[in-house]
């Protein structure tokens, strides 16, 4: 379980993350909902290990991931991330985009090829494995980003508004794919968005965030529909 305790982070005079405490259990989908600039992405970057927190700690079980003075390398955190702009390596083929993360000591070339082909199959990109990202459609690019992120079998997947630019049908396809992969691999997902429809489709727990603070949490035991969620969101976010 990822435990975030009293984590704060500021950039100059801007308080991006303000004393945040939360957990993410394995096999759980938590959605962080909040307006643009509320600190969602900063929180994900802290969890991924790209930044040092100003205060507080981030732990995975008993292992310290981040504190003010120490930070475990991102690649040693057993997690992966999908960015809003996907960040596909434009000079690498689809195959190499996925295989890059698998090239570690102790893994043979045959194992890398086999695992890459397995991932390509899971995200339905086998016919495009020798193409470059610029030659893929929007949905294929999203699938490649997800495939690359799950290739290393992470325990947790962090997603930063990855489906923002997709139409409704494609977005639903991606969410279905994500949930299917989650079910198969049993990983925890922390999903950041400001779209309520994504919350309804994905979330087991919803966290509202504003001005760097966690404002409200809806537990998975509570059922909610779109109208209730909208009311809850506007009460906790827009009017706070």
């Amino acid at each position: 379980m990822i435990k975030i305790e009293n984590v704060s982070k500021s950039y100059g005079s801007i308080q991006a993350v303000d004393n945040v405490t939360m957990t993410l259990a394995p096999d759980e989908v938590v959605v962080i909902l909040g307006p643009s600039g509320c600190g969602k992405t900063s929180l994900l970057r802290l969890i991924a290990g790209f930044e040092y927190p100003d205060s507080g700690t981030i732990k995975m079980g008993d292992q310290m991931l981040s504190s003010k003075h120490q930070k475990l390398a991102p690649s040693r955190r057993h997690l992966n991330m999908v960015f809003q702009d996907l960040g596909l390596w434009p000079h690498m083929t689809v195959f190499n985009n996925i295989a890059f993360g698998l090239k570690r000591s102790g893994i043979t070339r045959q194992q890398i090829v086999a695992r890459t082909k397995e991932i390509l199959q899971q995200v339905s990109l086998q016919p495009h494995q020798q193409r470059f990202p610029s030659h893929l459609s929007g949905g294929e690019k999203q699938r490649l980003a997800i495939g690359r992120a799950i290739a290393t079998t992470p325990d947790y997947l962090l997603l930063d508004e990855p489906f923002n630019n997709l139409d409704v049908i494609l977005k639903q396809e991606m969410i279905d794919l994500l949930l299917a992969l989650k079910k198969k691999m049993g990983m925890g997902i922390l999903y950041v968005t400001h779209h309520l429809d994504e919350v309804l489709n994905l979330a087991e727990r919803v966290i509202a965030m504003q001005q760097g603070e966690l404002r409200q949490i809806i537990e998975k035991t509570q059922s909610f529909n779109e109208q209730e969620l909208l009311t809850w969101y506007t009460e906790n976010i827009q009017h706070s």
């Binding site: 290990g49 991102p74 960015f83 434009p90």
Partner: protein
């Protein structure tokens, strides 16, 4: 007309050019393009000014007395090192102030754009376009066509080029090897410096930007004197008498340009591309080799060729630090000039120009091939 435009600063900020175009076509240039391009214009003007004020090689050849030439005379003709250094201080002060102004005006902006960019085709009127073309033609004629034409005339028949080539093959080879080696070293150094700059905090980045620009503020004559004073001692004599001094001189003189070219390409690379690689590996060199270098190759190629071309034509520093028994093409031209061998000078100048043109075309070719 300008008074009719409400809150023009905010309009410029948000790029609402149509409002300007509807009022008067030239307002677009005056109130949108010009303010956006002003840091680059100012920066360019400062570069040209510094280039002009620190150079003494052209004026030496033309026998025109300029300030850096006085320093050169004090140092190399009158052997008065102290006077040369004292004379150099005001020059150094002026150029350092200008570099500060230039770094401040740019404030982290990119110098070069390697992407093709988007331009929606707002054009000047025909008269303005004609003026712009005429201006460019006049500048090119005066600075390139007329001098090259004059040199071609002075050089005369093809046999002069044959003689020049025969007598200077060694120097041409030496110039190419030293310039290419220096450019390669500069490009490698520039990559690591630029990469560190990009990953620094904004305050440290600004300091590094200033520091990396600073060598440009040092006039070639002062740089040459400095290098001699530092390296001309018994302990470092084995380095001082070799090609190392020339390479060091080129690096010290031209690395700001290499850094700017490489830094510009790094600035335009999506930082997420490296971050995602960090999620996969802790091996920094693997990330640099597999992700960063392929993505900034155009900047590296540009940086290499800028350094190479500048090093090939360098005279100011080389004149002071050239070890005995070695000669570059510009030094050979300079020496021929003093012997009054005008035809040979002209032929060698044309050869140097052709070489630089060929390498520039090579740059274009390599860039396109990599695409």
């Amino acid at each position: 007309m300008a008074n009719n435009i409400p809150n023009k600063k905010s309009l410029v900020k948000y790029g609402k050019k149509d409002i300007f175009v509807n009022i008067c076509p030239y307002n677009y240039e005056l109130f949108l393009t010009l303010p956006l391009a002003m840091p680059h214009i100012l920066s360019g003007a400062i570069f040209v000014f510094i280039f002009s004020i620190i150079d003494f090689s052209v004026s030496d050849i033309l026998r025109i007395k300029v300030f850096p030439l006085e320093i050169f005379i004090e140092f190399s003709a009158l052997y008065n090192e102290r006077a040369a250094v004292i004379l150099g201080l005001p020059l150094l002060l002026i150029t350092m102030v200008l570099i500060s102004l230039q770094v401040w005006s740019m404030r982290g902006r990119s110098y070069i754009n390697f992407t093709s960019g988007y331009h929606d085709g707002h054009h000047l009127g025909r008269a303005a376009q004609g003026l712009a073309i005429a201006f460019c033609l006049i500048v090119i004629s005066l600075s390139v066509i007329v001098p090259v034409g004059a040199m071609l005339k002075i050089a005369g028949p093809l046999s002069t080029y044959q003689n020049a080539l025969n007598s200077s093959l060694e120097q041409i080879g030496f110039s190419i090897i030293v310039a290419a080696g220096s450019a390669l070293l500069m490009t490698i150094l520039a990559f690591f410096i630029a990469h560190s700059m990009l990953n620094s905090s904004p305050k440290i980045r600004l300091v590094l930007e200033y520091l990396t620009q600073l060598p440009f503020a040092i006039a070639p004559i002062l740089l040459g004197i400095g290098l001699i004073k530092v390296w001309n001692r018994p302990m470092t004599d084995w380095l001082y008498g070799g090609v190392f001094m020339i390479v060091l001189g080129y690096i010290a003189h031209f690395i700001p340009f290499t850094i700017r070219a490489v830094y510009a390409s790094l600035q335009q690379m999506n930082p997420r591309l490296e971050e995602i690689a960090w999620l996969a590996t802790t091996n920094k060199f693997r990330i640099i080799a597999k992700i960063t270098l392929p993505l900034v190759k155009n900047g590296l190629i540009t940086g290499f060729f800028i350094s190479f071309i500048l090093a090939m034509g360098e005279l100011g520093v080389t004149l002071l630090i050239m070890p005995p028994g070695m000669e570059t093409i510009p030094i050979k031209i300079y020496n021929f000039m003093h012997y009054g061998a005008e035809a040979m000078v002209a032929a060698l100048c044309i050869i140097l120009l052709v070489l630089q043109l060929l390498f520039s075309l090579g740059l274009l070719g390599i860039s396109k091939w990599f695409k």
